[in-house]
Protein backbone atom coordinates (compact mmCIF):
# COMPACT_ATOMS: atom_id res chain seq x y z
CA UNK A 1 0.00 0.00 0.00
CA UNK A 2 2.68 2.49 0.99
CA UNK A 3 4.66 1.60 -2.03
CA UNK A 4 1.73 2.39 -4.32
CA UNK A 5 1.19 5.69 -2.54
CA UNK A 6 4.88 6.52 -2.75
CA UNK A 7 4.79 5.84 -6.48
CA UNK A 8 1.84 8.21 -6.87
CA UNK A 9 3.69 10.94 -5.00
CA UNK A 10 6.73 10.52 -7.22
CA UNK A 11 4.60 10.80 -10.31
CA UNK A 12 2.94 13.98 -9.11
CA UNK A 13 6.15 15.57 -7.98
CA UNK A 14 8.11 15.29 -11.18
CA UNK A 15 6.08 18.02 -12.88
CA UNK A 16 5.41 18.24 -16.57
CA UNK A 17 7.04 15.07 -17.74
CA UNK A 18 6.43 12.66 -20.55
CA UNK A 19 3.06 11.46 -19.30
CA UNK A 20 1.67 14.98 -19.66
CA UNK A 21 2.61 15.16 -23.31
CA UNK A 22 -0.19 14.19 -25.63
CA UNK A 23 2.17 14.20 -28.61
CA UNK A 24 5.52 12.51 -28.05
CA UNK A 25 8.55 14.67 -28.75
CA UNK A 26 9.46 12.39 -31.65
CA UNK A 27 6.03 13.01 -33.24
CA UNK A 28 6.26 16.80 -33.34
CA UNK A 29 5.94 18.40 -36.77
CA UNK A 30 6.25 22.07 -37.56
CA UNK A 31 3.31 23.71 -39.31
CA UNK A 32 5.48 24.29 -42.36
CA UNK A 33 5.52 20.54 -43.08
CA UNK A 34 1.76 20.71 -43.67
CA UNK A 35 2.10 23.61 -46.12
CA UNK A 36 2.31 23.32 -49.89
CA UNK A 37 5.59 23.43 -51.82
CA UNK A 38 5.15 27.07 -52.84
CA UNK A 39 4.60 28.26 -49.26
CA UNK A 40 7.60 26.24 -48.10
CA UNK A 41 9.74 27.79 -50.85
CA UNK A 42 8.52 31.27 -49.92
CA UNK A 43 9.53 30.79 -46.29
CA UNK A 44 12.92 29.32 -47.11
CA UNK A 45 13.95 32.06 -49.54
CA UNK A 46 14.96 35.14 -47.56
CA UNK A 47 14.26 37.45 -50.46
CA UNK A 48 10.85 36.05 -51.39
CA UNK A 49 9.81 35.86 -47.72
CA UNK A 50 7.80 39.07 -47.11
CA UNK A 51 8.42 38.78 -43.35
CA UNK A 52 11.98 39.92 -44.00
CA UNK A 53 10.62 43.41 -44.69
CA UNK A 54 9.67 43.57 -41.00
CA UNK A 55 12.95 42.04 -39.87
CA UNK A 56 14.82 44.73 -41.78
CA UNK A 57 12.64 47.43 -40.26
CA UNK A 58 13.25 45.90 -36.81
CA UNK A 59 17.00 46.18 -37.30
CA UNK A 60 16.64 49.93 -37.95
CA UNK A 61 14.51 50.32 -34.82
CA UNK A 62 17.03 48.33 -32.79
CA UNK A 63 19.67 50.93 -33.59
CA UNK A 64 17.40 54.00 -33.35
CA UNK A 65 17.45 56.03 -30.12
CA UNK A 66 14.14 55.88 -28.21
CA UNK A 67 12.32 59.15 -27.55
CA UNK A 68 12.56 59.03 -23.73
CA UNK A 69 16.14 58.33 -22.69
CA UNK A 70 17.70 58.66 -26.12
CA UNK A 71 19.04 55.16 -25.65
CA UNK A 72 18.65 52.60 -28.41
CA UNK A 73 18.27 48.85 -27.84
CA UNK A 74 21.80 48.61 -29.21
CA UNK A 75 23.13 51.03 -26.54
CA UNK A 76 22.82 48.27 -23.92
CA UNK A 77 22.52 45.05 -25.92
CA UNK A 78 25.03 45.86 -28.66
CA UNK A 79 24.77 43.78 -31.77
CA UNK A 80 21.60 41.69 -31.73
CA UNK A 81 23.33 39.12 -33.92
CA UNK A 82 25.34 38.09 -30.86
CA UNK A 83 23.37 39.33 -27.83
CA UNK A 84 19.95 38.07 -28.98
CA UNK A 85 21.14 34.83 -30.51
CA UNK A 86 18.94 31.99 -29.25
CA UNK A 87 17.14 34.23 -26.75
CA UNK A 88 13.66 34.09 -28.30
CA UNK A 89 13.73 30.28 -28.15
CA UNK A 90 13.52 30.48 -24.34
CA UNK A 91 10.44 32.74 -24.41
CA UNK A 92 7.80 33.15 -22.95
CA UNK A 93 9.84 33.40 -19.77
CA UNK A 94 9.18 34.29 -16.14
CA UNK A 95 10.36 37.77 -15.28
CA UNK A 96 10.96 38.42 -11.60
CA UNK A 97 10.55 42.16 -11.96
CA UNK A 98 7.19 41.93 -13.69
CA UNK A 99 6.20 39.02 -11.45
CA UNK A 100 4.72 37.18 -14.40
CA UNK A 101 5.56 35.31 -17.56
CA UNK A 102 6.37 37.60 -20.50
CA UNK A 103 6.42 36.86 -24.20
CA UNK A 104 8.98 38.56 -26.47
CA UNK A 105 6.57 41.42 -27.23
CA UNK A 106 5.96 42.08 -23.53
CA UNK A 107 9.69 41.82 -22.80
CA UNK A 108 10.46 44.45 -25.44
CA UNK A 109 7.80 46.75 -24.01
CA UNK A 110 9.11 46.14 -20.48
CA UNK A 111 12.55 47.22 -21.63
CA UNK A 112 11.09 50.24 -23.41
CA UNK A 113 9.15 51.54 -20.42
CA UNK A 114 11.64 50.72 -17.66
CA UNK A 115 14.99 51.27 -19.36
CA UNK A 116 14.35 53.51 -22.34
CA UNK A 117 11.62 55.58 -20.62
CA UNK A 118 9.63 55.42 -23.82
CA UNK A 119 5.93 54.63 -24.23
CA UNK A 120 5.05 50.97 -24.71
CA UNK A 121 4.32 49.96 -28.29
CA UNK A 122 0.79 48.77 -29.06
CA UNK A 123 0.28 45.07 -29.71
CA UNK A 124 0.12 44.37 -33.46
CA UNK A 125 1.65 47.77 -34.22
CA UNK A 126 4.10 47.68 -37.12
CA UNK A 127 6.97 48.74 -34.85
CA UNK A 128 6.40 46.07 -32.20
CA UNK A 129 5.97 43.40 -34.86
CA UNK A 130 9.17 44.54 -36.55
CA UNK A 131 11.22 44.56 -33.34
CA UNK A 132 9.84 41.19 -32.24
CA UNK A 133 10.51 39.69 -35.65
CA UNK A 134 14.04 41.08 -35.67
CA UNK A 135 14.82 39.74 -32.18
CA UNK A 136 13.26 36.35 -32.87
CA UNK A 137 15.00 36.15 -36.25
CA UNK A 138 18.33 35.97 -34.37
CA UNK A 139 17.11 32.60 -33.02
CA UNK A 140 16.07 31.17 -36.38
CA UNK A 141 16.85 27.48 -36.23
CA UNK A 142 17.30 27.41 -32.45
CA UNK A 143 15.21 24.68 -30.77
CA UNK A 144 12.39 25.93 -28.52
CA UNK A 145 13.25 25.37 -24.86
CA UNK A 146 11.20 27.17 -22.21
CA UNK A 147 11.58 26.79 -18.45
CA UNK A 148 8.25 25.93 -16.79
CA UNK A 149 9.48 25.26 -13.26
CA UNK A 150 9.44 27.48 -10.20
CA UNK A 151 7.33 30.63 -10.26
CA UNK A 152 6.50 30.12 -13.96
CA UNK A 153 4.57 26.95 -13.20
CA UNK A 154 1.23 28.63 -12.37
CA UNK A 155 1.13 30.36 -15.75
CA UNK A 156 1.99 27.10 -17.50
CA UNK A 157 -0.83 25.28 -15.70
CA UNK A 158 -3.33 27.97 -16.67
CA UNK A 159 -2.17 27.79 -20.27
CA UNK A 160 -2.54 24.03 -20.31
CA UNK A 161 -6.02 24.28 -18.80
CA UNK A 162 -7.01 26.77 -21.50
CA UNK A 163 -5.69 24.40 -24.16
CA UNK A 164 -7.80 21.48 -22.95
CA UNK A 165 -10.86 23.59 -22.12
CA UNK A 166 -13.74 23.60 -24.62
CA UNK A 167 -14.41 27.07 -26.02
CA UNK A 168 -17.11 28.98 -27.84
CA UNK A 169 -20.29 28.05 -29.66
CA UNK A 170 -18.52 25.21 -31.43
CA UNK A 171 -17.67 23.90 -27.99
CA UNK A 172 -14.29 22.47 -28.93
CA UNK A 173 -10.89 22.55 -27.32
CA UNK A 174 -7.51 23.18 -28.97
CA UNK A 175 -6.56 19.57 -28.21
CA UNK A 176 -9.42 18.15 -30.26
CA UNK A 177 -8.04 19.53 -33.50
CA UNK A 178 -4.32 19.81 -32.84
CA UNK A 179 -3.69 16.62 -30.82
CA UNK A 180 -6.46 14.29 -31.91
CA UNK A 181 -7.05 15.21 -35.54
CA UNK A 182 -3.90 16.76 -36.92
CA UNK A 183 -3.04 15.71 -40.45
CA UNK A 184 -6.73 15.40 -41.37
CA UNK A 185 -8.58 17.89 -43.55
CA UNK A 186 -10.73 20.78 -42.39
CA UNK A 187 -12.31 21.94 -45.66
CA UNK A 188 -9.34 22.94 -47.83
CA UNK A 189 -6.90 23.05 -44.95
CA UNK A 190 -4.76 20.34 -43.39
CA UNK A 191 -5.00 20.58 -39.60
CA UNK A 192 -1.55 21.22 -38.17
CA UNK A 193 -0.29 20.29 -34.75
CA UNK A 194 -0.57 23.93 -33.73
CA UNK A 195 3.04 24.74 -32.93
CA UNK A 196 4.04 28.39 -32.51
CA UNK A 197 7.41 28.25 -34.28
CA UNK A 198 6.52 30.56 -37.21
CA UNK A 199 5.41 33.62 -35.27
CA UNK A 200 5.64 36.53 -35.67
CA UNK A 201 4.92 35.20 -39.11
CA UNK A 202 3.56 36.23 -42.47
CA UNK A 203 0.12 34.82 -43.14
CA UNK A 204 -1.05 34.99 -46.73
CA UNK A 205 -4.60 35.34 -45.45
CA UNK A 206 -3.59 38.48 -43.55
CA UNK A 207 -1.35 39.80 -46.31
CA UNK A 208 0.83 40.94 -43.45
CA UNK A 209 3.03 39.90 -40.58
CA UNK A 210 1.18 39.07 -37.36
CA UNK A 211 1.94 37.91 -33.85
CA UNK A 212 1.22 34.53 -32.31
CA UNK A 213 -1.52 36.16 -30.24
CA UNK A 214 -3.21 37.33 -33.43
CA UNK A 215 -3.06 33.77 -34.70
CA UNK A 216 -4.52 32.43 -31.45
CA UNK A 217 -7.30 35.00 -31.55
CA UNK A 218 -8.05 33.94 -35.13
CA UNK A 219 -8.40 30.31 -33.97
CA UNK A 220 -10.74 31.38 -31.15
CA UNK A 221 -12.76 33.43 -33.62
CA UNK A 222 -13.02 30.30 -35.76
CA UNK A 223 -14.63 28.31 -32.95
CA UNK A 224 -16.86 31.32 -32.19
CA UNK A 225 -15.37 31.87 -28.76
CA UNK A 226 -14.79 35.08 -26.88
CA UNK A 227 -11.39 36.44 -27.88
CA UNK A 228 -9.18 37.76 -25.06
CA UNK A 229 -7.78 41.22 -25.85
CA UNK A 230 -4.28 41.35 -27.36
CA UNK A 231 -1.77 41.14 -24.53
CA UNK A 232 -4.29 39.47 -22.18
CA UNK A 233 -2.71 37.09 -19.62
CA UNK A 234 -4.80 34.15 -20.94
CA UNK A 235 -3.08 34.47 -24.29
CA UNK A 236 0.40 34.70 -22.74
CA UNK A 237 -0.34 31.59 -20.65
CA UNK A 238 -1.44 29.75 -23.78
CA UNK A 239 1.64 30.92 -25.69
CA UNK A 240 3.72 29.55 -22.80
CA UNK A 241 2.03 26.15 -22.85
CA UNK A 242 2.37 25.96 -26.65
CA UNK A 243 6.08 26.79 -26.49
CA UNK A 244 6.62 23.95 -24.01
CA UNK A 245 4.49 21.64 -26.12
CA UNK A 246 6.65 22.39 -29.18
CA UNK A 247 9.87 21.82 -27.24
CA UNK A 248 12.81 21.07 -29.52
CA UNK A 249 11.25 22.33 -32.75
CA UNK A 250 13.39 25.00 -34.42
CA UNK A 251 12.16 28.60 -34.52
CA UNK A 252 11.28 29.71 -38.08
CA UNK A 253 10.67 33.45 -37.62
CA UNK A 254 9.61 34.99 -39.94
CA UNK A 255 7.55 31.97 -40.93
CA UNK A 256 5.12 31.94 -43.84
CA UNK A 257 1.72 30.32 -43.52
CA UNK A 258 -1.49 30.28 -45.54
Amino acid sequence: MWRVLALCVTCCACGATAQERVLALSELRSGITFAGANVRAMQADELANPGMLWVERGEKLWNAPAEGSGKACASCHGSAQTSMRGVAASYPKFDANAGSVLDVEARINDCRTRRQHAPALARESEDLLALTAFVAYQSRGAPLAVAIDGPARASFDRGREFYFQRHGQMNIACTQCHDQNWGKRLLGETISQGHPTAFPGYRLEWQSLGSLQRRLRACLFGVRAEMPAPGAPELTDLEFYLAWRAQGLPLEVPGVRR
Binding site: L47, A48, P50, M52, L53, W54, E56, R57, K60, E126, A130, L204, Q207, S208
Partner: protein, 106 residues
Amino acid sequence: MPDARINVPAEVPRGKPFEVRILIRHPMETGYRTDDTGKQIPRNVIATLTCRYNGETVFAARMSPGIAANPYLRFFVGARESGELAFEWVDDRGVRGNERATVTVV
Protein backbone atom coordinates in the same frame (compact mmCIF):
# COMPACT_ATOMS: atom_id res chain seq x y z
CA MET B 1 9.19 50.66 -43.32
CA PRO B 2 11.91 49.99 -45.85
CA ASP B 3 10.37 50.27 -49.27
CA ALA B 4 11.95 47.31 -50.93
CA ARG B 5 14.51 44.53 -50.84
CA ILE B 6 16.50 43.97 -54.04
CA ASN B 7 18.69 41.05 -54.93
CA VAL B 8 21.13 41.11 -57.85
CA PRO B 9 24.45 39.34 -58.21
CA ALA B 10 27.34 41.69 -57.36
CA GLU B 11 29.30 40.56 -60.39
CA VAL B 12 27.94 39.25 -63.69
CA PRO B 13 29.62 37.90 -66.84
CA ARG B 14 29.37 40.26 -69.85
CA GLY B 15 26.23 39.74 -71.93
CA LYS B 16 24.98 36.78 -69.88
CA PRO B 17 21.44 37.19 -68.45
CA PHE B 18 21.31 37.50 -64.69
CA GLU B 19 18.41 37.31 -62.27
CA VAL B 20 16.95 40.43 -60.67
CA ARG B 21 14.57 40.03 -57.73
CA ILE B 22 12.67 42.71 -55.89
CA LEU B 23 10.22 42.58 -52.97
CA ILE B 24 8.29 45.81 -52.47
CA ARG B 25 6.43 46.74 -49.34
CA HIS B 26 2.95 47.83 -50.36
CA PRO B 27 -0.56 47.00 -49.08
CA MET B 28 -1.96 46.59 -52.66
CA GLU B 29 -5.39 47.59 -51.43
CA THR B 30 -7.98 46.15 -53.81
CA GLY B 31 -10.72 48.70 -53.27
CA TYR B 32 -13.17 45.92 -52.48
CA ARG B 33 -12.44 45.67 -48.76
CA THR B 34 -14.22 47.54 -45.99
CA ASP B 35 -12.80 48.70 -42.67
CA ASP B 36 -14.20 47.87 -39.21
CA THR B 37 -16.90 50.53 -39.55
CA GLY B 38 -18.08 49.20 -42.91
CA LYS B 39 -16.54 52.03 -44.91
CA GLN B 40 -14.94 51.07 -48.20
CA ILE B 41 -11.14 51.26 -48.25
CA PRO B 42 -10.16 53.05 -51.46
CA ARG B 43 -8.18 51.12 -54.03
CA ASN B 44 -4.45 51.71 -53.81
CA VAL B 45 -2.15 49.46 -55.79
CA ILE B 46 1.20 50.07 -57.42
CA ALA B 47 0.10 51.46 -60.77
CA THR B 48 3.37 51.23 -62.66
CA LEU B 49 6.87 50.02 -62.01
CA THR B 50 9.89 50.62 -64.23
CA CYS B 51 13.40 49.33 -64.00
CA ARG B 52 16.12 51.18 -65.90
CA TYR B 53 19.67 50.08 -66.47
CA ASN B 54 21.96 53.06 -67.03
CA GLY B 55 18.89 55.02 -68.07
CA GLU B 56 17.53 52.45 -70.52
CA THR B 57 14.22 50.78 -69.60
CA VAL B 58 14.79 47.05 -69.24
CA PHE B 59 11.60 46.06 -67.44
CA ALA B 60 8.23 47.70 -66.88
CA ALA B 61 5.01 46.49 -65.28
CA ARG B 62 1.47 47.69 -64.81
CA MET B 63 -0.07 46.09 -61.75
CA SER B 64 -3.67 45.41 -60.82
CA PRO B 65 -5.63 44.64 -57.62
CA GLY B 66 -5.26 40.94 -58.43
CA ILE B 67 -1.66 41.08 -57.20
CA ALA B 68 -1.06 40.29 -53.53
CA ALA B 69 0.29 42.70 -50.94
CA ASN B 70 4.07 43.17 -50.84
CA PRO B 71 4.59 42.12 -54.48
CA TYR B 72 7.62 40.08 -55.39
CA LEU B 73 9.00 40.34 -58.94
CA ARG B 74 11.69 38.33 -60.62
CA PHE B 75 13.10 38.82 -64.11
CA PHE B 76 16.28 38.52 -66.15
CA VAL B 77 18.51 41.24 -67.58
CA GLY B 78 21.71 41.06 -69.61
CA ALA B 79 24.44 43.71 -69.25
CA ARG B 80 27.22 44.71 -71.62
CA GLU B 81 28.84 47.11 -69.19
CA SER B 82 28.79 47.86 -65.46
CA GLY B 83 26.06 50.14 -64.24
CA GLU B 84 23.14 50.81 -62.01
CA LEU B 85 19.67 49.29 -61.93
CA ALA B 86 17.18 51.96 -60.92
CA PHE B 87 13.66 50.92 -59.89
CA GLU B 88 10.87 53.42 -59.70
CA TRP B 89 7.23 52.85 -58.90
CA VAL B 90 4.15 54.91 -58.27
CA ASP B 91 0.87 53.88 -56.66
CA ASP B 92 -2.72 55.05 -57.14
CA ARG B 93 -2.28 57.73 -54.50
CA GLY B 94 0.72 59.10 -56.36
CA VAL B 95 3.22 57.96 -53.74
CA ARG B 96 6.55 57.24 -55.40
CA GLY B 97 9.18 54.76 -54.36
CA ASN B 98 12.61 54.04 -55.70
CA GLU B 99 15.51 51.75 -55.05
CA ARG B 100 18.87 51.17 -56.70
CA ALA B 101 21.41 48.40 -57.06
CA THR B 102 24.81 48.39 -58.76
CA VAL B 103 26.01 45.66 -61.06
CA THR B 104 29.64 45.06 -62.03
CA VAL B 105 30.33 43.35 -65.32
CA VAL B 106 33.42 41.14 -65.30
